[in-house]
Amino acid sequence: MKVLRHETVLAILLAIALAILAAQSDRFFTVDNLLNQGRLMAEVGLVALVMTFVIVSAGIDLSVGSIFGLVAILLGVFWQNVGMPLPLAIVAAIVVGVVAGLANGWVITRFKVPPLVATLATLALYRGLAEGISQARSVRGYPEWFFVLGQGEVLGVPTQLWVFAVFAVVASVILGLSPFGRATYAIGSNAVAARFSGIRVDRTILAIYAASGLMSAIAAVIFVSRVSTTRSDMGTGLELDVITAVVLGGTSIFGGRGTVIGTVLGVMLIQALKNGLALSGVKGDGTIVVIGFVLIASIVFSNLFRRNSDG
């Protein structure tokens, strides 16, 4: 067994980071600020949860950012131009997100296109659809109640943080303890053997990519509610932030290894660095550099530990 799991390494790293940052600025380690950070990291966090499944199953989904943008735009278009009632518009937009995810899964399973290539294509495609549909118009003026999701609080905690927490628990249970999770790991480390064991490989993969679309969509709705407007360029570059968080969380990019807890820690660590460094007077560009180093370093460490522990 491993002496020191990657998750442990991360937890320690996070603790250290929090300590240092708290020492740097007395405004960092306050309930207010931390909760606020929770609000800011919710979108990336949600997408990262499912991206963990995707990567554990030895896949990757580069199109999340574009689905995010597409759903945001459609939400606005359905509501304003099509004239649906907002709740319906939300549902409809999310459905489209799921379909977009399914399409990814379909191309991957049906035509055996490597996920990276398939989603590279849909990355452009979905973003293009978003821009084409939006015709560069942004939709604004949503009713107040809608902002509860992105700007409101429940029991003093940002709404989306609750959403994130719930999904995080659900996701970690599914991946860690459910038959579906087992299937995901099996597929990730040897898809052929999984198929030969009667595991429904294609169906599982379809489900995973659909879930990826779903979660991107939900994140998009939350985001629109947070910034109270929609634009076709929303979510640009989201995929890299998400993948960084997941990989930092110890999920093996080759599949078969990784946990949701790790991902959550990864997301939190990144957010803590972004915020804490800013508060300690480090500029945005400096922060990016630090995150880059932390990513590489953390993987190096846990690799060394794994090397020593189980040959």
Binding site: S178, Y185, S189, G198, R257
Partner: protein
């Protein structure tokens, strides 16, 4: 040109057992992986013009010893001599420079590259300008393959599309391309059908005539006795002994290998046959399975013999729903069923132990318990979750029942030896309590000890009423274990024998004769 097996006919040509300084001499080899000692003070040498067989159970350390000789692993202790001169290999390149070529157990080829390039990768013929000389590369590849009379092999074909047997040929050609003085072969016949084995034996003999020294690892004793001049046996990483072949017989070798004597190799006890469990009526798949019909009864072991590429695996895949039948009818327990996916097959009580353990059978980085659970995910479900307790219990039960040598349910499968890995595959399918068990090459690459245990298991299961369909390229196994024998060729069932009337000659002949007809 089919030759019958010269099982147990002692000795190779007298030219063997060449004298003078050994071409390759390994002495006092000790090697451990992350604390685990897998070789301890082993000595082994190869002389010019001899075949020196290296035997031992799975995990005995044969491949490791070979990888040391090939410069892949560095020994912790011990010395390597070539022609009496002490050397040390920093990399496989050094070993090759020293005239040592290896045909590895897990064929190490480049699927995307052509046959010719696979043969010459790293030492291709150069033009004056120092660039690769493709024309000469292809010519020489052609010559080498013709030497191995594999005229049919296209030097421009992508290796990824070749059959196991053909990949094997490419590997050997690759080894010969470096006109090595020492050729090491690690289980070269593990995945070959009889005909190809015979061919390989011929090749090895020819090489020996040319004065090449050959180290030969195999679990198949007949071919060892047909080829070897000397035999060295390892057990648990230690040297048990080195003897001239003349001084040995199968029993002695086996007892040296497993440290006890194996009472019986093919312990099939005839059982009372129950009703028909599985029936195929004119089953076809694409071009590879053609109009196959047969009946399989409870308690019966139905063996399928055939040459490589004869479509036995394809038949199994069709029955198991991986490549659904394009026409024909499959009946399970007398009622017609449509099997279009493995999970359907599983629900029908059909289990399939595939031919490629590593690729199709197991998820090596996962534990024994997890691997067994793969066929049972739905049944182990409690609420939304996998019942860990039952999962572990299940694994414990089978480790017990099948005598899997492992630290426990939590041990990673990749660390087990071949035989025990095969038992885990068997376990994960017995877990579903199948009515029909299809076993494809059930003992491929498995040592005699583990082999006889698996055979014992098979006949026990049969006697408990399981219907077993056994595909094997090892004729003795087919003959020894089957109640009935089907012979397949070109995707067709071309002959059927009752256990009693099935003999080496009859079956072998049926295979080739029909094969000739099929060709014409």
């Amino acid at each position: 040109m089919q030759r019958t097996v010269e099982a147990a006919s002692p000795g190779g040509t007298p030219s063997g057992g060449g004298d003078g300084a050994p071409l390759l001499e390994l002495s006092g080899m000790t090697k451990s992986f992350s604390g685990v000692t897998v070789l301890e003070d082993v000595s082994f040498d190869v002389r010019a013009g001899e075949v020196h067989a290296l035997l031992g159970e799975n995990g005995a350390g044969k491949s490791t010893l070979i990888k040391i000789a090939a410069g892949v692993h560095r020994p912790d202790r011990g010395s390597i001599r070539i022609g009496g001169r002490e050397v040390s290999f920093a990399s496989p390149r050094d070993a090759r420079a020293g005239g040592i070529a290896v045909v590895y157990q897990e064929l190490l080829l480049f699927p995307e590259l052509t046959v010719a390039e696979n043969i010459f990768i790293g030492h291709g013929p150069r033009t004056a300008a120092g660039t690769l000389d493709w024309r000469r590369m292809r010519e020489r590849a052609r010559e080498l393959l013709d030497d191995l009379d594999s005229q049919h092999l296209d030097v421009d074909a992508r290796v990824g599309g070749l059959s196991v047997a053909n990949r094997q040929r490419v590997e050997i050609a690759k080894a010969l391309s470096q006109d090595a003085r020492v050729l090491i072969m690690d289980e070269p016949t593990a995945s070959l059908a009889e005909a190809d084995v015979q061919q390989l034996i011929q090749i090895v003999r020819t090489l020996r005539q040319r004065g090449v020294g050959i180290a030969y690892v195999s679990h198949k004793l007949p071919e060892v006795f047909a080829l070897a001049d000397r035999v060295t046996v390892l057990r648990d990483g230690r040297l048990v002994g080195t003897e001239p072949i003349a001084a040995m017989d199968e029993r002695k070798v086996v007892s040296m290998m497993v440290g006890r004597s194996i009472d019986q190799l093919f312990p099939k006890v005839p059982t009372r046959l129950g009703e028909v469990m599985l029936e195929a009526r004119g089953v076809c798949h694409a071009g590879v399975v053609r109009d196959v019909s047969f009946q399989l009864r409870a308690g019966e072991i139905l063996g399928i013999a055939g040459l490589v590429g004869s479509g036995r695996t394809e038949l199994a895949l069709t029955l198991f729903g991986l490549t659904p039948a394009t026409s024909g009818e499959i009946l399970v327990g007398g009622s017609p069923v449509a099997v279009t996916s493995p999970d359907q097959a599983r629900e029908l009580g059909i289990a399939y132990v595939p031919e490629d353990r590593g690729l199709q059978g197991l998820v090596k980085p996962q534990t024994i318990a997890e691997n067994i659970a793969h066929t049972m995910l739905e049944r182990l479900r409690r609420g939304f979750l996998v019942d860990r307790a039952r999962e572990t219990a299940l694994a414990r039960h089978f480790i017990e029942a099948l005598g899997i040598r492992a630290r426990g349910p939590g041990q990673v499968v990749g660390q087990l030896s071949g035989g025990n890995q095969q038992k885990v595959v068997l376990a994960k399918w017995l877990a579903i309590e199948p009515r029909i068990l299809i076993m494809d090459e059930p003992t491929r690459g498995i040592d005699v000890g583990a082999k006889s245990e698996i055979h014992a298991l098979m006949s026990k299961l049969a006697s408990e009423g399981l219907a077993i369909l056994m595909i094997s390229s090892e004729l003795p196994e087919v003959l020894g274990m089957s109640d009935r024998v089907l012979v397949m060729n070109g995707g067709r069932v071309v002959a059927e024998f009752d256990g009693s009337e099935a003999t080496q000659e009859a079956v072998g002949q049926a295979m080739t004769l029909t094969h000739q007809r099929g060709a014409a």
